[in-house]
């Protein structure tokens, strides 16, 4: 084994990419490794360790135990929570991608036609993004409020539509949570897709125009294929961000009514900070991470590989 691989390695050309690799890469990587280790790896390892204990928030004297794992994975709530998480994530991600793409297309279109106000539009959309999630939840709670002054319901009443139980009806609450998340997260998709749209070669559209392509054909044959990479990267990022979202929900619905909007991140948070079950929370966090990684890996498989379109 070693005998065959050694000469092959010797015959291999010097490392690809720019320039020769430094003779000893370790010193160069050390600072990065240090920070990644300190802020990412260490907490993950610690959570993994805690998952195999009976630690609680009040009593950090932890002994090895598999009880937490059994209790969490066997818990009756987990099924509901996972289903909520799936609905919430899918809804939010598709909503953000579609709306972000739509606004980005609009902005680019407007800029091409020298329309005024495109910068303002972009800034407005971006403003939603810098609002903290908690504040966003509070804002939407006021908008969705079912009291007489609730912004959306009073508008609906003006146009003669009966009020909607946005937050108190378990069937609507998830939709409301998704709307609030999409509203905030759209900016992120918009900016990413806007940049990608701007980098598409204009002459492709000119060639298509000469070929009598309709707007739909342009979108289908040029824009979407050219955006594929950006859309997928965007999807990976917002899937992970959305899976980890609980700040909007906590201030909007608190996970209710009942468990109607309790997603995995919120469930983990509640387990630790309401039930003081540190070990259980760690189990859920590890589960969340595993789901994130799996989904990211699946989406990444569709990424265009380098050297191939």
């Amino acid at each position: 084994m070693t005998a065959t691989s050694a000469p092959r390695r010797a015959a291999a050309p010097p490392a690809t990419g720019g320039g020769p690799a430094p003779a000893r890469p370790l010193p160069w990587l050390l600072p990065v490794l240090f920070f990644i280790g300190l802020f990412y790896l260490w907490p993950i390892i610690d959570a993994l360790r805690l998952a195999f204990t009976d630690a609680s928030l009040l009593d950090r004297e932890a002994n090895f135990s598999l009880d937490a794992i059994g209790a969490m994975l066997g818990s009756a709530a987990l099924g509901t929570v996972l289903r909520n998480t799936a609905v919430f994530t899918l809804g939010s991600v598709f909503g953000q991608l579609l709306l972000g793409l739509a606004i980005a297309l609009l902005v680019v279109r407007g800029e091409r036609n020298n329309l005024r106000g495109m910068l303002v539009l972009r800034t407005l959309v971006l403003a939603a993004w810098v609002i903290p999630g908690i504040a966003n939840g509070v804002i939407w709670q006021m908008l969705f409020s079912e009291a007489p002054f609730g912004a959306i319901n009073s508008t609906l009443r003006l146009v003669g539509i009966p009020p909607v139980a946005w937050l108190s009806n378990p069937d609507n609450a998830m939709m409301s949570a998704i709307i609030a998340t999409v509203w905030q997260g759209t900016a992120y998709s918009m900016i990413l897709l806007y940049a990608a749209l701007r980098s598409i070669d204009d002459t492709l559209y000119e060639a298509a125009a000469v070929d009598a392509a309709t707007p739909w054909e342009r979108l289908w044959f040029i824009t979407l294929p050219e955006l594929r990479g950006a859309l997928l990267v965007n999807a990976i990022l917002i899937v992970i961000m959305t899976l980890n979202t609980f700040d909007v929900i906590i201030s909007l619905t608190g996970g209710g009514p009942g468990r109607a909007t309790e997603v995995l991140a919120l469930y983990a948070y509640n387990t630790v900070f309401y039930n003081f079950d540190l070990a259980g929370g760690s189990v859920l966090s590890i589960l969340l991470m595993a789901i994130s990684l799996t989904l990211a890996a699946i989406v990444a498989m569709f990424l265009p590989r380098s050297g191939r379109p």
């Binding site: 070669d201 002459t203 492709l204 000119e206 060639a207 298509a208 125009a209 000469v210 070929d211 009598a212 392509a213 044959f221 040029i222 294929p225 050219e226 379109p309």
Partner: protein, 363 residues
């Protein structure tokens, strides 16, 4: 009938007009090359024909119909872009077939059409590839295939060869011409390369600063330029221009006096056009091939530099108070420092009025 007519076409970007009232008719199946220096408005003109740029004023007619207000897709023109603009996510075959999607063709008919075009352009083996996996010349052919298959009324090219290396450019130049001979289409071709213009065109249109300077068959433009700009722009190496003065009266003949005192007798055939300029300064122009080294009683000039190119030799001579380029054919190559006798083809000289920069005696 697919005549292309530009009738007083102008283009303004904001307050600046960059194309000033172009009048040009491209006859059916004619190959017209629009040539001019960078920034003179060639692309803008072509893009107005394609419909990619709005026409500020004037009328554009294709096949007798006014098309100013039609979108590019409704004008039945095909365009080959400088960077080819192939759809990167489609195969070569799909790229070529794209223009056919509106025609109600069966799959077999479409494939047959694509194959026919691919055969014409010799790109059959590439049909399944993506544009990224093609060389520049191959992309060029695909771009042409995409245009040809639509069988449009008018073909537009915007510097299609400028991204290719010199050898390939030569080859594609020939190939486009051959293709046009086999499958004639009304064609407007833009380039800044005067050689391309000369070699490819049925008719050359020289543009300068948003105006047509002169239009005509290549040899006409070359031999009888109307302005100093055209004389200098067309021809490589460029025409030799000397500051000179016309002297002499009607009895003693007419003479061209160069800055270094050389006196050249104006041949009888050319006298009529320029007699009225006697006593005035002129710019005297002579193409490099009209300067020949030959023993005789012609003027003597020192050879300052020699460039051998195989079939011909360029000799740079100290003549007329400046440096003149002579294009020599044949095997006797002078060497630097030689004093040589010149024979000048004065019947073909170009005389320019320096106050107007127009060629004296031109129509």
């Amino acid at each position: 009938m697919s005549e292309l007519v530009l009738d007083g076409i102008s283009k303004s970007f904001g307050d600046t007009e960059v194309v000033h009232g172009i009048d040009l008719t491209v006859a059916e199946n004619e190959f017209v090359v629009l040539v001019g220096p960078s920034g003179c408005g060639k692309s803008t003109t072509l893009r107005m024909v394609a419909g990619l740029e709005a026409i500020s004023s004037g009328e554009l007619r294709i096949g007798g119909e006014r098309v100013n207000d039609r979108s590019p897709g409704e004008r039945d023109v095909a365009m080959v872009f400088q960077n080819y603009a192939l759809y990167p996510h489609m195969s070569v075959a799909q790229n070529i077939a794209f223009g056919l999607r509106r025609r109600k063709l069966s799959r077999a008919e479409r494939d047959a059409a694509v194959l026919e075009v691919a055969k014409l352009l010799e790109i059959e083996p590439l049909l399944d590839r993506r544009p990224r996996a093609l060389s520049g010349g191959q992309r060029q052919r695909v771009a042409m295939g995409r245009a040809i298959i639509r069988d449009p009324q008018v073909f537009l090219f915007d510097e299609p060869l400028s991204n290719l290396d010199a050898r390939l450019r030569l080859q594609m130049r020939l190939e486009i011409k051959r293709l046009h001979a086999r499958k004639p289409v009304t064609t407007l071709y833009v380039t800044h390369d005067q050689t391309e213009a000369m070699t490819m065109a049925d008719r050359v249109v020289v543009m300068n600063e948003g105006r047509i300077e002169q239009a005509g068959p290549p040899m006409e433009i070359y031999r009888n330029p109307r302005t100093r700009f055209v004389a200098e722009f067309i021809g490589a190496p460029a025409v030799n221009l000397f500051d000179a003065r016309l002297t002499g009266g009607s009895d003693d003949g007419l003479w061209i006096e160069l800055a270094d005192g050389t006196r050249l007798s104006v041949p009888a055939s050319r006298r009529a056009g320029c007699e009225s300029y006697a006593g005035q300064p002129v710019v005297f122009g002579l193409r490099p091939e009209d300067i020949v080294i030959e023993a005789g009683d012609g003027p003597v000039a020192p050879v300052q530099m020699v460039e051998t190119m195989g079939a011909e030799t360029l000799a740079y001579l100290g003549f007329g108070g400046t440096e003149a380029c002579a294009r020599l054919t044949g095997d006797s190559v002078p060497s630097r420092g030689d004093q040589v006798h010149l024979r000048l083809g004065l019947e073909r000289m170009i005389l320019i009025d320096p106050t107007t920069d127009r060629v004296i005696g031109a129509a």
